[in-house]
Amino acid sequence: MTTMNRRDALRLLGLSTFGVAALAACAPDATGGAATGDAAAKTFGFTSWSLNEAAQKAAVQAIVDAYAATNKVKIATASFPYNEYLNQVVLKLRGNQLTGAVQVDVAWLGALAAMGKLRDLGAQASAGGYTDVALSSGKFDGRQLGLPWTTGSIGLIANTELLTKAGVDGMPTTIDEFEAALGKVAKLGGGVVPYAAATKAAQLKDIFPWMQTFGSPLLSGDQVTIGDEPSVAAVEWYKKLYDAKLIAPDVDRFDARALFSQGKAAFYDDAIIARGVVASQSPDKALVQKMAPLSRPVLKAGDTPQALLWGHVIAVVEGEGADAAAEFARFATSDTATVADFFQKVQLPPTTTAGLADPKVAGDSFTTEWTEKITKTATANPFWRYAADAQIESAVAEQVQAVLVGNSSAKDALAKAAEAVEGLQK
């Protein structure tokens, strides 16, 4: 075997440093340069993760095909898996390999906006008839960088059958009522988790709406308020539920859905698409009829229920085909017949007043109830505006988890979380 002495080790270290420096020198710059190409071109790209998702791809492709045929344009489609989507889009934007329209999760808009390559779609937005809450999901720093394609929220869903069995009358509206309801459900036994709340670090960002419920704004201007009295009270309350086994350890969104679909959870947090997912996973074909959205319980009667805004927007990259791509984005998100048909196929609520009023949408009681009870007061996560939003959420989640497992007090943990978040605000 070849052995390595100290001189060899130093040589290796030197070469590694040189190599890293050389690689860094070869890497593209942060922005990838200015937009190029003919903005008036009739050929443009459309990048969307939905184009390859079994439940949605046919419906999305139909919109693309219909628009291309009617408007005599050529649309080159591309797709990446959802979990890798943001990284791939960022990389391709930096390498100037991506043009045209791009589907974007509302949580990612800030990260993409920071690259300075997205077109302001204010003109299309004002002609689209979008609802105010929907428009807000595509705004960044006062500019309309995305046209809302679907706007919903992450809210609470209940299994009404379990609540009835447990003797819970009506939906809880305050924290106290909610706790009492959880206590009654816990007495059912049989492995039922009263509230399948997120307790895994990967999903613990779900605690943000609870912190807001207790009165913390999370962010005031650029001042991080995590660690203030209300946020500490929220985490202590969460810990109380955890210790009382009213919420279960090691649960993320996928686990919560699995528990709920098996009739083993009375409440959990999810987006409006929960109905379709639960239906496909549950052996109880009638479970969908037993699902009911409810406003997040408030600290005291009269408070505004908190919910996290959720949805997709279509953004447009400046450069080749940007004009036609902007018109396509407007059509796909606001043409009433198109959005109503899309809703019928994939159950994602539209974003325009006319779309929501269409009989196909308005006739769906689950969607209208959801919109009225949850989406109406939903707000964006204030940290989305930072490019390091994902790291910010992780930093807070890790500290909350430390509280849940008893490694830290809520006050100390949130102080550490706030410090970490402040370091990530750029």
């Binding site: 690689l23 860094a24 492995g191």
Partner: protein
């Protein structure tokens, strides 16, 4: 001269088996228990993969989970057979992995031979430079390779994937083969030279055949590395050139839902070629990985 000794007559089993002392018996039982526990630990995920692949959709999330499915279905395998896109991913994976393996073995064999048998200025530095390339974070390499392939118009091609995979496999292959070449006695090559063989001929007719197990091990390592890669294959390929790992993720993992039974069925089927290759080449692999470990 070779003398062949008569083989002793086979003794009946009962007579061969020696009675173990209690402490020996206890250690043997403990060893078997340890092997069983480690085996269970290693094989359980594979077992769970197979069970999930045969479980109907509405039973996959049964709580509490069941070790043995109460109902089984072949639907997920039937769906797999109907999915032509997956066959395309499979073909791409085979093309990319086989070429990467061959390229890695050919290039690393010559590099390793040069490092092992020639003496020249800067040899050690070059060897360490090869090793140093293993120490870069993959994300850094990905961004840089993306920029380079984009500049030369190779993005979305097989070539981009093969070159990037070979970049990662070469260092280990070179060091592995160098260790093996080091064990080939210099006298053997001197004898070949005295008989008039050129260095080229010595390498191809004497050294490489002796290093065959190492070449197979290096090839398998490169093949598996290319077969399993996800992030480079996703980033550098086009939809038509996508290999199995990103293809499977793309097909079965969605924003809202993961089609676990279908994903497990597909994973089970696509791992079969690798399992077959390992079974067929196992003896070379073990020999090749250990051949350069000790100098004689």
């Amino acid at each position: 001269m070779t003398v062949t000794l008569p083989r002793p007559a086979t003794l009946p089993r009962e007579r061969v088996r020696r009675r173990l002392r209690p402490d020996q018996a206890r250690s043997r039982v403990a060893a078997w228990i340890a092997v069983a526990v480690i085996g269970l630990f290693g094989m359980f995920p594979v077992y769970w993969l197979i069970v999930t692949a045969f479980t109907p959709d509405d039973r996959v999330f049964s709580f509490p989970p069941s070790l043995f499915p109460s109902r089984i279905t072949l639907d997920h395998f039937a769906d797999l057979a109907k999915n032509e896109q997956l066959f395309g991913y499979l073909v791409n994976s085979v093309i990319v992995s086989v070429i990467t393996a061959v390229l890695s073995v050919v290039v690393s064999a010559y590099m390793a031979y040069a490092f092992s048998k020639f003496r020249y200025r800067g040899r050690k530095s070059l060897m360490h430079l090869v090793l140093a390339s293993q120490m870069f974070p993959q994300a850094l390499l990905l961004v840089t390779l993306y920029a380079v392939f984009s500049a030369v118009g190779l993005l979305g091609s097989y070539t981009a994937m093969i070159l990037s995979f070979t970049t990662f496999t070469l260092p280990l292959c070179v060091w592995m083969l160098k260790g093996i070449f080091d064990t080939v006695p210099g006298s053997l090559m001197e004898a070949a030279a005295i008989d008039g063989a050129s260095r080229w001929r010595t390498l191809h007719t004497i050294v490489l055949p002796l290093a065959a197990p190492g070449l197979v091990a290096a090839g398998l390592f490169a093949f598996v590395r290319a077969w399993n890669d996800f992030i480079f294959a996703l980033t550098l390929s086009s939809p038509e050139r996508q290999t199995l790992p990103p293809g499977l993720v793309h097909t079965y993992l969605g924003e809202f839902q993961t089609a676990w039974p279908d994903l497990m069925a597909a994973s089970f089927v696509v791992s079969l070629p690798v399992i077959a290759a390992f079974m067929f080449l196992q003896r070379y692999l073990v020999g090749g990985l250990t051949a350069g470990a000790v100098k004689g």
